[in-house]
Each structure stands twice: as structure tokens, then as C-alpha cells.
């Protein structure tokens, strides 16, 4: 889902080896990415990677991809090791943030060399994590700062909006919190996440300088990261500690891949303290037989171990089980299945010979659909053109334009367009729309559709039922009731169904030329000449005769 750009040179510098563009296409697969696009810019080759796994943010940057490929190719194996040095930096978290944005985790990465590509990757990774993994900053918002410009300790505070005033990123003037929410581009985009709360979250240093107003915007004047920045302070806020800690782990280890030194920060909450980041490996255990059976490619225990080591696992084989340790920048192992997928990706999907399962089963089409198809064949025999129209429509088309009173039908709460805001309860309006779009085309026009009409039925699980219907419309200068009745009559004859027509009134049809279609005493449809008012509503200057019937009552299972 997330797509991001990486430079070929940068990737190869991180891996320490060069590849051809064709080789890269396959290498991306190890990182669960698809190579979406390749282009050249300033003499450099760039790739657009399309990351498939929304639960693997560690793979959404050049550093992450390079790390995965180094391991997958066996250049390194087992758990990636990172040193975390304790620092004396402290962040105090205000308990008043409990219902606003309760958690923050922090780290410092020293000695980072941010050249142009590294800088781009850092910004891009933050953006992608906050957007996709962080649900548009709601669950994860990230700030990075030039640590050398700041004076610890830091305070993550809840502050009344009216007391907040600082120069936000990319601005020259001081703004109040509400001015930022109203006028600043990021304020407009993310302001809704804090707006209306009694306090806004604010990150300040010991001198009271505002670093950031999470999750909206950083300060322009205090700690802005540039390509010259060497020591980076990272601030991640959100609603769930485990989620923001994972994001922090992804970020610090990505920077460590470029030679950064990770230093931890003490975070002090009212009732507890934590030291972040925590890169302690996580543990999991799988049955080897489970992996072997479902993979189906004849793997040995040793092979599984070797493949898993190429996917960052430390593996201990014991009693038919694999005891696994996996790095703290991953959090996607919920089930043995997730481990199985890693085994198979390391093995290479395209190294596996596909094999069709041999199952003694017989195919069968649904009987009623067979019946619908037989009806369609019959209609084509009358020389009618089949059409396929949308179920989505609107009340105006279903009722107003058809000159009948409005009823309750299935309606969509959040339609993209009002034109597609309801599900049709009958098909003739769709056929009228079709005719209205073809008034320039040669007549006679004879069309039909076998399609669904969705009706309210309070007894059903979905409160609705979509019934199969046949609708026919004929338009030409001399069309009359008789012409469509001939078709209806022939349909009924060929299906072996006895029917009757009963005079009725219906706003869509000309009085005296409309009838209910009755089968076994039950009304199953309507037939008639379309009322000129309806024709006028649709902009059709040609007489139309039509009918519409439910197909279920005509269906007898074929023997």
C-alpha cells in the first residue's frame, strides 16, 4: 500500500554491492515490495517501491529494504544487533494528556551523516509511518529535531491553547495555537486531532522553548533538522505505547543502518517510567511440522532454520519446534502462519514449482443462475439487445422521474456522489436512463436486462433481499401495449407459466394501457405503455412500452 522512492545508488551503498535493474526487480520481492516504476533524475536511477505489507513499516525505507536484502542474500544472518547506550536525558509526561494524546516515546541517535539521500529517506519514512501505520498521525505522529540545539530535560505537557504561541515550521511569524489550526497547512490537515480539547499537547525543552505541538507541527526556530544535523532527537506520540514504540524502533534502527549511535531516553509518567527505545528481541515458537506441511516444498529442519535466519530470526531447533527470537523493529508475528510466510519469501515464491491440487470434486453452476441465463437466451431470440446497468442510482431516478410517489429504499449514508446514493428497487428506471442516453441512435430500440432489484425485508439478516428481475423496453414511433404484451405472452408460454393481466393504475404508465402481471394469484410484475410525462422527464421523444417481472416466481428447478 505505501509507495515510496529510493535511489539505486543509495540502496547499493547500504548493501555494499551493485545489481542490475533486472536483478533489483526480484530483490524487491524479498522486502515484500513491488518495483512500481523506474526513472532517472540528475544522472541517478530511482525506484518507486510499492510496499505490500501494511504491518511492516521496517520495510518502508532504503535502509529497511537494504537491510532485508543483505539478510535475504545471506550476507548477514540471524538477529540484527544494535547497541543502545543509556543517556541521562529525561522526558516528563503530563498526566493531563490522558484523554488528549497520552503517550510519548523518545530517543537520540548520534553521529548521523545526513547526505541528500539519507535526509530524503528520513523525511519520507516519517511521513509514510505517520500516514499509513499511524492512521494519518492519529495513532502515530513523529517529530525529529537537531539535538544540539536543544536543552534537556524535556516536558511533554498539556497546555491551554490560548497560552501557546510559537513560530511553526516554514513560517516567519509567531502564531497562536488556534491560528496554526486555522491557517497553517498542517494545522488544517491535522488540527482536528486536538481541536476542541481543553489542552493541546506541547513538547518543550528546559528553557521553555516549544519544539513541537504534536501531532500537528514542529517549531521553525527550535531544533529544525537540516542536512547538517549530526545528532537527532526523536519524539513519537500516540495512543498506544506498543504501537509508538514499534515506530520508534523502526526509525532508530534505520538511522543506525547509516552508522548512527542509538541512545535511550528515560520517559517519566505519573505512575511509571520507561527507557526508550527498547530493542530487546521478541520471542515466538512454532512447530516445524506445521511449517513443513503447509509449505509443501519438502523442507528440512535445517533448511527452515537457514531460511528464517535470512529473515532476521535467531533460531533454536528443539523437540520438533523452532524457538525464535525476532527483532524489535517487527511486530507482525501473530501466528505461526506469519513465520511460514517469511520462510516462503526467503525461499523465493518463484523457486517453487506450482502444483495443481488433485481433488475429486465436480463443478456445478447455481440452478437459478442457469435459469436466468435461459431467460436471457430467450430474450435475445426476440431480437432484444441485452444491457447491463448499475444497481447504484438515486431516488429521483427511481421515483420522481418515473412519476410515482417516493418510498423507502436502500440508501447510502456517505455516497461519493448523490447520483449514486441508493440501490435500485426496480429496473425500468435504469432502462429509461439507457434510452435517454441514446435518443440520437436509430430506432427501433429494443433492450432488456436481467438484473437485481434490492428490496427492504426486515426479517432478513441484512434487512434486504436482492431479487432477480427481467425488464424489457421497446421504443419506436408505432410501439404499443400489444407489442410488449406479445413478448411477455411468449416468455410466459415458453416458460410454461400461466398468467393473467389485471387492470391497474400506475403513474409510470398511460392509464388504461397498464396491467399488473399475476401468476398464481400473486402480482409479479407490471406491463404497459410508458406515460408521456415520464418520457418527458427523461427527455425521450419516442413512445416506449415496457414490462418488468420477478424471475423467482417463474422458476421451477430443472430436473
Amino acid at each position: 500500500m505505501p509507495k515510496f522512492d529510493v535511489a539505486k545508488d543509495d540502496l547499493e551503498r547500504l548493501i555494499g554491492k551493485s545489481f542490475t535493474v533486472e536483478e533489483w526487480e526480484d530483490l524487491f520481492l524479498y522486502a515484500k515490495c513491488e518495483l512500481d516504476d523506474i526513472w532517472e533524475e540528475n544522472g541517478k536511477i530511482y525506484f518507486k517501491a510499492d510496499a505490500k505489507d501494511t504491518n511492516r513499516p521496517d520495510l518502508w525505507s532504503a535502509e529497511g529494504i537494504a537491510r532485508q536484502i543483505k539478510w535475504a542474500l545471506g550476507m548477514k544472518k540471524g538477529l540484527p544487533k544494535y547497541q543502545v547506550e543509556k543517556s541521562d536525558i529525561v522526558v516528563y509526561v503530563d498526566e493531563k494528556l490522558k484523554d488528549i494524546r497520552p503517550y510519548g516515546v523518545y530517543a537520540v541517535v548520534e553521529n548521523v551523516k545526513l547526505d541528500e539521500e539519507a535526509f530524503k529517506q528520513l523525511i519520507q519514512l516519517q511521513e509514510k509511518i505517520a500516514l499509513t501505520f499511524g492512521r494519518k498521525r492519529r495513532e502515530v505522529a513523529i517529530g525529529t529535531f537537531d539535538f544540539d540545539k536543544l536543552k534537556p530535560p524535556f516536558y511533554y505537557k498539556a497546555v491551554e491553547p490560548e497560552k501557546i504561541k510559537f513560530i511553526p515550521l516554514n513560517c516567519e511569524e509567531e502564531m497562536t495555537a488556534d491560528e496554526i489550526l486555522e491557517k497553517h497547512e498542517k494545522g488544517q490537515e491535522y488540527g482536528h486531532l486536538i481541536k476542541g480539547r481543553p489542552y493541546y499537547p506541547l513538547l518543550v525543552d528546559s528553557e521553555g522553548n516549544v519544539l513541537s505541538m504534536p501531532p500537528v507541527i514542529n517549531s521553525e526556530t527550535h531544533g529544525k533538522v537540516t542536512e547538517k544535523t549530526r545528532n537527532i532527537f526523536i519524539d513519537i506520540t500516540g495512543w498506544h505505547l506498543d504501537k509508538i514504540m514499534l515506530a520508534l524502533n523502526v526509525l532508530v534502527t534505520a538511522l543506525a543502518e547509516r552508522g548512527g549511535k542509538i541512545k535511550s531516553v528515560k520517559v517519566v509518567y505519573k505512575d511509571f517510567e520507561i527507557e526508550t527505545p527498547d530493542l530487546t528481541p521478541k520471542e515466538f515458537e512454532v512447530e516445524l511440522s506445521y511449517i513443513k506441511k503447509l509449505a509443501g516444498v519438502g523442507l528440512s529442519d535445517e533448511q527452515i532454520k537457514e531460511l528464517l535466519e535470512r529473515m532476521f530470526y535467531e533460531v533454536e531447533l528443539k523437540d520438533g519446534k523452532a524457538k525464535l527470537k525476532y527483532p524489535a523493529f517487527r511486530d507482525d508475528i501473530m501466528h505461526a502462519r506469519d513465520v511460514l510466510e517469511d520462510v516462503l519469501i526467503a525461499y523465493g515464491y518463484n523457486e517453487i514449482e506450482p502444483e495443481e491440487p488433485k481433488l475429486a470434486v465436480q463443478g456445478k453452476g447455481d440452478d437459478f443462475i442457469e435459469f436466468e441465463n435461459a431467460v436471457r437466451e430467450l430474450m435475445i431470440g426476440f431480437g432484444l439487445q441485452e444491457v447491463m446497468t448499475f444497481n447504484l442510482t438515486n431516488k429521483e431516478a427511481q421515483f420522481t422521474k418515473m412519476n410515482i410517489p417516493e418510498e423507502e429504499i436502500v440508501e447510502i449514508e456517505n455516497p461519493i456522489s448523490l447520483r449514486w446514493s441508493a440501490l435500485r428497487k426496480w429496473l425500468l428506471p435504469s432502462l429509461m436512463e439507457f434510452l435517454s442516453l441514446n435518443t440520437h441512435e436509430e430506432y427501433p430500440q429494443k433492450i432488456f436486462e436481467v438484473g437485481k432489484a434490492t428490496l427492504i425485508d426486515e426479517t432478513k439478516e441484512t434487512k434486504t433481499v436482492s431479487e432477480s428481475k427481467l425488464a424489457v423496453a421497446i421504443a419506436h414511433p408505432r410501439v404499443t401495449f400489444t407489442e410488449v404484451k406479445e413478448i411477455l405472452d411468449s416468455v410466459m408460454y415458453h416458460l410454461g407459466i400461466k398468467y393473467e393481466l389485471e387492470e391497474t393504475e400506475h403513474g409510470s404508465f398511460i392509464p388504461g394501457r397498464v396491467g399488473k402481471i399475476i401468476v398464481k394469484g400473486k402480482e409479479i410484475g407490471i406491463i404497459g405503455e410508458i406515460h408521456p410525462q415520464v418520457l418527458e422527464n427523461w427527455g425521450i421523444e419516442m413512445p416506449v412500452a415496457a414490462f418488468e417481472i420477478f424471475l423467482k416466481p417463474l422458476y421451477k428447478p430443472s430436473s
Partner: protein, 503 residues
């Protein structure tokens, strides 16, 4: 030389007439005009006759001109009144002139010198001159031309050009000119020789009637030779909608491949079956307001039996007995009850798995699904999805690839396939397949995965289930020869009439 009845008859007439106006030839032969023309053209192509064509300019009266011929030109009518009364106020002329004619009349009378004009009491007064009185019996060129045209109907322009300028007639909208082709037919030397040798005229017929057959008269007639190469009008039969025909074909293929068809009672689905039963967490971005339709009416449906709901809930919250840690959040039954138009066919697979199914078994559905999108060249708001699953005790990942590959060869006619890791919330491992279509090149053609146990176990399934879906839209567009996806649901009758059949 083989000659048709019409050709023979025409040639016989031409033998006496030698060179004749086409219209006269038609009268002579007593055939219809088209038949004679066809005969003449055939005779010409055989070197027996020659068609001379000459274009000439003719002049004929307009509707106004015809009226003037009947009631007199406006100035004539005015003059008559003037002579009778000697002197008139302009308005009096309304007795004989229409409004249109009144406006230019003063100018015409003055120019002709038939009347003097002055103002008296702010009114225009016209008085007839001597010249005017004499003019009553004098014929001007325009009067003469009007008479000629009225008598003959139309004349060649050069006949009247000496009398009057055509422009004047046109300006006064009395007459118009027209280009007309005059045709004459002349027999050639060769034609004459042939005709003089004598031609046997046997009656020629174009339509074999029941009478001819009954009476046996067909023996003594000759059948007119038809130009079988002549173009005919294209007629359009009743046909299947092309995209539906394409879907029908895929349906047949799947049944042939051993799949059982699944159907749904409604196009509307509860979020429970669309998402929750598929182990898609309730805070998943795909379930956001912007990515999932919600209903205004009816808003909520019912959940299935309680035990099933409890199992799904447990699976989401902590993994239940599936060996998973679950998503770790509080599952909300109210959200699961929300109704929506079905967003993917997998919802049907989940329903089917919860019902009685055959194990091993193969299932499929071609299902109409809905996504909140804007309708344009590349996006549909509702479309058809081809999805299903294969269930069996001993299924493995190899089989998953095998099934996908079979689809690629059977449905897309692909020779080569490529597999890529992919991600779906309800399958693990997951695969995307690209197939090399003979003409389209590499096309993303489908996806598959093994349903997660967190999904299958709560539905009561303990064996591997391979879920698959095939992406048919690009293939359908290629088959239908379209580059605008909206044509899959075409509202364009001309296009439907002209579409080639899909089989």
C-alpha cells in the same frame, strides 16, 4: 454476349432512337428509371451504348415567384391602384400589398418613374406620373421573364440572361437557380450491329413468386442477374451484453474446472461478514468512513448465531484457540451489525465456509461488489468480482500457486506467470500473480492466499483453505477492445449494437 432482359429491351429501343434523352428512353421502355439507368450503365460497360452527361444551369420560380405570377408583382398591384385613384397616401397601398411588400415599394415606384412622392401633413403621398399611366400596358423584362417562368416551370439560365440579370431575380427572391444534369443515351456502332442481328426478348423476373412455382411458369422466364457484390444494409441482432458474455464464459470455465457456484441473497452485507468474519480489525483503515460505504437506511442488520459471533470476537480480541495473539482490542458488535453494499466477494466465501461445505471442495462466485470511488475512465463504482476458495486437508502453498497458474493459462491464455509476495488481512501467506498475456504483456492477474486460522477456525473450519480472486477487468477490456472501463457497463447503444460477439 450475355444481356439481361432490361439491357436487351433498352438496346432494341435505342436501335430506332439512336440518341435520346434519358427521360424519353425511360418512357419508351416502360421500365422504372433505376432499372433503365442500370441497364444503360451495363450496356456502356459492354461497349454497346454511351451515356452523355451535361450539366446545365436552370432557373425556376420560388414560392414567392409563383405567387407573383398569380397575383402580379407588388409594383404592378400598386400601380393599378395608383392609376385608379391618381393619388394615394402610402398606407392606402396596404389594400393591395403585404407588410413586407410595402417597405420597398416607394423605392421601386420612384426608380421606375411611375410615381412622385412628397410629404403632406406628415404623411407620404404618392401621385402617379404619365410614365406610370403608360406603364400599365407596357411589359418590362421582369414581367416577361416572370411570364416565361410561370409557363415553362423552369428554363435554362442562358435563355433569360439576355433579358434580365439573374441577380435581380434572386435578390427579389422571385427565382432561384439550380444545377441540373441532362443525360442522353446513344447507341454505339457495336450496339447497333448487335441490335440489328436481332435479340430474343424473354421475360425477366427479379423475384421468384409462389405463383411462378405453382404455375410452372418459372420454366419460361429468365432470372434477373443480381449484383451479388452490391453492399447491403448492416442489421444488428439481439445480442448478449459483451461484458456479461465474457463473465458467462469465465463462469463456464470455472464450472469445468470443478468449482461450485456460490450465490448471495442480497447485495447488502453486514460488516460482520464483509470484515469481521475475515479477521479484519475494526480499526483497519479499509473500514474508515472514506473507504467503506455505510447505509442511511436500513442502518443495522442482524448478527449470526451467538456462538459464531463469540468465536469471531475472541479471535479478534486475543486469538481464541487459533494459536494467534489476536489484534488486542475490544471488539464492538454494534459496528459488526452495520450494513453496507458488499465490497468484496470474500464475504461470500466466509458465509459459505460457515455453512455446510464439501471437503475437499472448490467454490466460486461472480459477484457484484461496490467501492466508494469516482466513476471515470479507470474506475468503476460497482463491478463484478470473480472469487472463491479451495478447501482440502492436504493443501499446501504449492497448490495455491498451482491454482493461480491454472487460472492464468485457462482464463488469460498466459504462458508464463510470476509470483509476488502480497498482503491481505485475511490470508497468510499471500501471493499476487502477474501473468504474461500474449498481447498485453505482464498483467496483474490475481491474488491468493491461505485464509488465516484466526478467520477459518471461528467459522468451524480446521483444514487449509486457499482463497483466490482473479482480476478480470483488464482482460475484459482487452477482449472488448475498450480503453474506458465504463464501457463494461456500456450505456451506448451504438457501441453495443456494433460490438463483436464474445464466446
Amino acid at each position: 454476349m450475355e444481356l439481361s432482359y432490361q439491357e436487351k429491351l433498352t438496346l432494341i429501343k435505342l436501335k430506332d432512337l439512336r440518341r435520346v434523352k434519358f427521360e424519353d428512353l425511360v418512357k419508351e421502355t416502360e421500365l422504372d428509371q433505376v432499372a433503365v439507368m442500370r441497364a444503360v450503365l451495363w450496356l456502356q460497360s459492354k461497349g454497346l451504348a454511351k451515356l452523355h452527361e451535361k450539366q446545365k444551369k436552370i432557373v425556376k420560380l420560388t414560392e414567392t415567384g409563383k405567387r407573383y405570377a398569380e397575383i402580379g408583382l407588388p409594383e404592378r398591384r400598386a400601380l393599378k391602384l395608383l392609376v385608379e385613384r391618381g393619388k394615394v397616401v402610402l398606407d392606402e397601398l396596404r389594400e393591395v400589398l403585404s407588410d413586407d411588400e410595402l417597405k420597398p415599394i416607394v423605392g421601386i415606384l420612384r426608380k421606375e418613374g411611375w410615381a412622385t412622392v412628397r410629404k403632406e401633413d406628415k404623411k407620404l403621398v404618392l401621385e402617379v406620373t404619365e410614365k406610370g399611366k403608360k406603364a400599365l400596358i407596357l411589359e418590362r423584362p421582369i414581367d416577361k421573364v416572370l411570364k416565361i417562368l410561370a409557363e415553362k416551370g423552369e428554363v435554362e439560365a442562358k435563355e433569360i440572361e439576355g433579358l434580365i440579370s439573374l441577380n435581380e431575380l434572386k435578390r427579389r427572391k422571385i427565382a432561384e437557380e439550380e444545377l441540373k444534369t441532362e443525360r442522353e443515351v446513344e447507341i454505339t456502332e457495336e450496339g447497333l450491329k448487335l441490335a440489328e442481328k436481332g435479340l430474343e426478348l424473354k421475360e425477366e423476373i427479379s423475384i421468384l413468386t409462389p405463383e411462378l412455382i405453382k404455375s410452372g411458369k418459372w420454366r419460361s422466364v429468365e432470372f434477373k442477374r443480381f449484383n451479388i457484390k452490391a453492399p447491403v444494409k448492416r442489421i444488428y441482432p439481439g445480442k448478449k451484453q459483451p461484458y456479461r458474455a465474457f463473465l458467462d464464459k469465465i463462469r463456464r470455465k470455472l464450472i469445468e474446472m470443478g468449482f461450485i457456484e456460490m450465490t448471495a441473497e442480497s447485495l447488502i452485507e453486514t460488516q460482520f461478514w464483509n470484515f469481521d468474519a475475515l479477521f479484519q480489525p475494526q480499526n483497519h483503515p479499509a473500514r474508515d468512513w472514506t473507504d467503506t460505504y455505510q447505509l442511511k437506511y436500513p442502518k443495522y442488520g442482524f448478527l449470526p448465531e451467538e456462538e459464531l459471533v463469540e468465536r469471531v470476537k475472541a479471535s479478534h480480541e486475543h486469538g481464541w484457540i487459533t494459536g494467534s495473539r489476536g489484534w488486542g482490542y475490544k471488539w464492538d458488535p454494534r459496528m459488526a451489525m452495520m450494513l453496507m453494499p458488499r465490497a468484496h466477494g470474500t464475504a461470500l466465501s466466509a458465509r459459505q465456509l460457515a455453512k455446510d461445505i464439501q471437503i475437499p471442495g472448490k467454490y466460486f462466485a461472480i459477484q457484484r461488489v461496490f467501492r466508494p470511488d469516482v466513476l471515470d475512465r479507470t474506475h468503476l463504482i460497482e463491478f463484478n468480482q470473480v472469487e472463491g476458495f479451495v478447501i482440502g486437508e492436504d493443501l499446501t502453498f504449492k497448490h495455491l500457486l498451482g491454482i493461480l497458474k491454472r487460472f492464468a493459462t485457462e482464463v488469460a491464455g498466459a504462458k508464463k506467470v510470476k509470483f509476488l509476495p502480497d498482503y491481505y488481512p485475511f490470508t497468510e501467506p499471500s501471493v499476487q500473480m502477474s501473468a504474461k498475456h500474449p498481447e498485453l504483456g505482464w498483467v496483474e492477474f490475481g491474488g491468493a492466499g491461505v485464509f488465516r486460522e484466526e478467520m477459518t477456525k471461528p467459522l468451524g473450519i480446521d483444514v487449509p483453505v486457499i482463497a483466490w480472486g482473479i482480476g478480470i477487468d483488464r482482460l475484459a477490456m482487452f477482449k472488448l477492445g475498450i480503453d474506458d472501463i465504463r464501457y463494461l457497463f456500456s450505456y451506448d447503444l451504438k457501441w453495443l449494437r456494433e460490438a463483436k460477439i464474445i464466446w
